[in-house]
Each structure stands twice: as structure tokens, then as C-alpha cells.
Chain length 292, copies 2
């Protein structure tokens, strides 16, 4: 693969995820800290209007607006539909003669630590994931194989990925998590610099990653109202093993509901605020390893 | 004072504070659990439209719309202004020939534990506060002396108060906090029952409470953008002593900013999400005791 020419850091794809947004403001104020000798780095705030309102989005979730068919559909004209088309053509145009890495910075109310979500198993991304896992104990790698075409912002680039940090409430800054996310960005940039300079370590490595298998919704009544909460024993236990028979929900009248699966899974995005409306109480993953 | 005839539990005065809202739904489903022999209890959801949108409010903060002058001002016609007038006249009408207790249930991203906020030092409220403090180790009592007339929902009733529970992200349920809040409500109802039956303990007691003194805003630039975060050493340390010279903020470029006061204070509402727009990074209080 040719060298990386450009890194784009997208922030505020969700307007109430402040960690990435304020990190982006810092990078714009002190551009030297994200510059490396072999490539250009720039930041952009995806959804300024949602940020001004401290809301995830104005009309619909921007980070579900990037399916090719939707981008080409002129009937889709909500604020975020138009914004997505804008961002898509801007980045596509910009990356025409470039090898571009696209990082989309998110935060979560779940205990995601420093999660890198890959949508493809491109060798460059796997090498990057292995390097980050090796040097940063808070890093977790997730792989979400798109069932159909991805509609995420990071899918604009072949070398795009998402970073999810947490736990942190929406519209809040947590200084510790801010600093951890900042350090992670520098590790990514430094890896790309080494890669371009041909000094990246190509030794055999075992990459541990978590592959999405399914999502679990809250128990709901016929009106769609939730009838239970995440069980206290599961709250903030993202990436820990969950075994059949262990409690996952607690109903409002105090009854535990157990996980009904047949094998151990690793739940993530447990109690993510923005997923209540999506019908997702948690995402289940399988823990896997890959020799790269 | 005459007996209490009625208790009203307001939930969802902020539509993204789910703890009270879902607790209210439970109480409506199982009304017996909030009934006591000597008074009626009912629940109402203050801002259903904001709850449906999982937002704090639609147009403006409902819990700042209850100043008498504003309620009488026909020019104030935003969604929440109208809603406030509605709620006010409904509750006033209902309580005409009743001694009514009004509990407004809130949650916070700050580590408020189970905070009771009093707007007056009515003897009944002080006795209740002392009783709850004595039997529940998570209870904290705050006293906010209104500089001018209060604009909070709970001010509709002479016997109104606010409960703030946290830390919990907006638009999320935390099962442990849900259960603690539920238990607290039962303790309040049981106290009122004892009071009505004349069996409440009238012994001398020392009540510890935290009195608001001032609010501190984030450091901001000339455009009003925040330039620092709550310092990691202060995050989630609500109700702990803060001494002059101890760090309260961390700038984005990594410098600590110390508390400049001259005496020990007890910060609360540290890093409350909804207060970023209000210019409040934390509220300072003084710890006091009162013999009652």
C-alpha cells in the first residue's frame, strides 16, 4: 500500500459527544501537536448545529446517513441528510489523489474505555489495531462486519474507523477520559508516521478483537415502553464475559432477567443512552484472536 | 400545622431525567405502593413532550418558569411557559382546601447521591430532612435561600422540595440509583404517615445541611467557549471539602487552576451537564448545622 498522505479527524458527528469536539478545538488551536512530517492532519466538526444545541442530532442520526443509496437519494432532505451529502462529497473530493485515514471520534455512556471500531479487516487497520492494543492497555478492538453497506461516516474512507470512549454522560467533559483520548490520537498519528517511514514493526502478532454477533433490546410492553433496566451486576461491565443464566435486566418490580444464550458472550455498549430509541440495550460480541 | 392531605410526586420536569419518570410509571402501575392511610398520593409527568424527545426541555427550562410574575405574564408563551401556567393552576386549584406536599424528582450527572433541596426552612420540611438524614446514609440536605422569588416547580407548594439523585447520565436508567430513589420516596411517605398519626419523633436533633453560597463558571474565552474541564481530582467529589489552593479546573492544554477562595467550601452539582449552558461548573456550599 502507498503511504498515507492525509489524516482527517471528524468530531461532533453527534453534537452532544463533547470529548472529541473539545479535543478537536484544542487541535485547531495548537495545530503543531497533530502534525507529523510525512502527512497532513486536519480536524473537522461534523455537525455544528447539533453541537450548538448540545444534542445528538437535529433531525436524525448523522452517523446513519452515509449509505451510498441514501447519499444519492434527492428525496432525503432532512438537516442531517443534507449534511451527510456535503461531508461525503467534500471528503471524497479531497481524498481523490490521496491515501486518507478518516477517524471519527465518539463517546458513550457505556464503559467502552478506548474502543476502536473497525468496519473492514484492511491489513493496514489490523496492523494499527494490533499496535495500539500492544501499547495501550485501555484499547479494545471491535469488528463490526456490515451486513449490508455501511451507513457510518467513517465508511467514506477505505481506511476509516470509529473511536468510542466512555463512560461519560452526554454534553459533559470528563478530564481523565479527555486526556486518554488525546494520548490515543497521538499514538495513532505516531503509528502512521512510523508506517510511512517504513519503520513499523511487522513482526507476527496476535490481535484480540470483539466481533459483533447480535443486539439485545430492553424488555418492552405492547406500547414499546421499556419494562426493565440493565441489571446492576451488568452495569459498566462492558467487555467482561457474560455467561448463560447470569442476570442482564432488572424489571421495575424487582425481578432479574437472565441471559438466555447458550455460550459466553462479551456485551458492549451496555446502557448507551442514544440506543434506547434504537432498541438496543447492549451489543453482544464474541472474543476472537487473529494472527496478523 | 394541620395534617398532610395530599402528596404530589412530579416527575420529568426535565424530560431526559429518566429515574423519576420511570419510577413514576411504576407508581402509576402499582398505585398501592405509594398509598398510605392518612393521605392521598399521586404522580404526574410534568413535561411529556420533552420526555418523548428525551430532552431536558423543548423551548426553555421548565424548572425556571414558576416565578409568580412570569406565570402572570401573557407575553411568555413558549411551550414550557404555557406548560408551567397549566401545572401551576392545576396544582393550586387542587390544593385549595388541602395541605399538600409537592416532591419534584430530578437526576444529575453530578455525584449528588440522594439530595433533598429545600427552598424554605419550614419546620415540617426541617423535621422531614432531619428524619431522612438520620435513617438514610445517602441523604444530603441542601438549602437554597431564594435571592428573589423562586422560579422552581416545587415552589408552587409551601411544602415543596426537590430531590436530585446522581450520578447518572441523562436519558439513562441506573438500576441501583432507581432502587435507592424508590426507597427514599417510601421513607418520605412513611414519615408523613407518622407525622399525620402524631407518632413522629419530636426529640431534639442536629440537622446537617449545605447552604448555597455561590456558583462558579468554567473559564471561558471572549466568545464564551469553555477553556477548561473539571479537574480529575474534583470530579464526582460533590459534598467533599474543597480548600483554597486545591485544583478545580484543568485547562485543555493541561494546566491546573486552583480554587481561589479564602475558606473551605463544599462543592455540589460538579460537572452537571445541563449547567454548561447556564454558566455553572459547580455550586459552592457551606456546611452548617441546625438544632431543631
Amino acid at each position: 500500500m502507498v503511504n498515507i498522505n492525509s489524516v482527517v479527524i471528524a468530531t461532533g458527528t453527534h453534537g452532544n459527544e463533547f470529548t472529541g469536539i473539545y479535543l478537536g478545538k484544542k487541535f485547531e488551536k495548537f495545530p503543531n501537536i497533530i502534525q507529523r512530517s510525512s502527512f497532513e492532519t486536519r480536524v473537522f466538526l461534523s455537525n455544528p448545529k447539533a453541537f450548538a444545541a448540545a444534542r445528538r442530532y437535529i433531525d436524525k442520526d448523522l452517523n446513519r446517513c452515509f449509505a451510498k443509496a441514501d447519499l444519492q437519494n434527492p428525496q432525503l432532505a432532512s438537516y442531517e441528510d443534507i449534511l451527510a451529502k456535503n461531508i461525503y462529497y467534500l471528503l471524497k473530493e479531497e481524498s481523490k489523489n490521496q491515501q486518507q485515514v478518516l477517524i471519527d471520534l465518539h463517546s458513550s455512556t457505556a464503559n467502552m474505555q478506548l474502543t476502536i471500531i473497525l468496519k473492514s479487516q484492511h491489513p493496514f487497520l489490523l496492523q494499527l489495531a494490533a499496535e495500539l492494543s500492544a501499547i495501550n492497555p485501555d484499547v479494545r478492538i471491535c469488528y463490526s462486519q456490515p451486513i449490508k453497506e455501511s451507513n457510518y461516516l467513517c465508511s467514506i474512507s477505505e481506511l476509516g474507523f470509529t473511536i468510542e470512549v466512555g463512560p461519560v454522560a452526554q454534553a459533559v467533559l470528563n478530564a481523565e477520559l479527555f486526556q486518554k483520548t488525546e494520548a490515543l490520537i497521538y499514538q495513532v498519528l505516531d503509528y502512521i508516521e512510523s508506517y510511512n517511514q517504513g519503520v513499523s514493526k511487522e513482526q507476527n502478532r496476535t490481535l484480540t478483537f470483539y466481533q459483533y454477533t447480535e443486539v439485545i433490546d430492553y424488555p418492552r410492553n405492547e406500547d414499546g415502553e421499556i419494562q426493565a433496566m440493565i441489571h446492576p451486576q451488568l452495569q459498566f461491565r462492558d467487555y467482561e464475559p457474560l455467561n448463560p443464566g447470569e442476570p442482564i435486566f432488572l424489571t421495575f418490580d424487582g425481578n432479574a432477567i437472565a441471559y438466555q444464550g447458550t455460550s459466553t458472550v462479551y456485551p458492549i455498549f451496555i446502557n448507551e443512552a442514544a440506543y434506547y430509541e434504537k432498541g438496543i440495550a447492549m451489543c453482544l460480541t464474541q472474543k476472537k484472536t487473529l494472527e496478523i
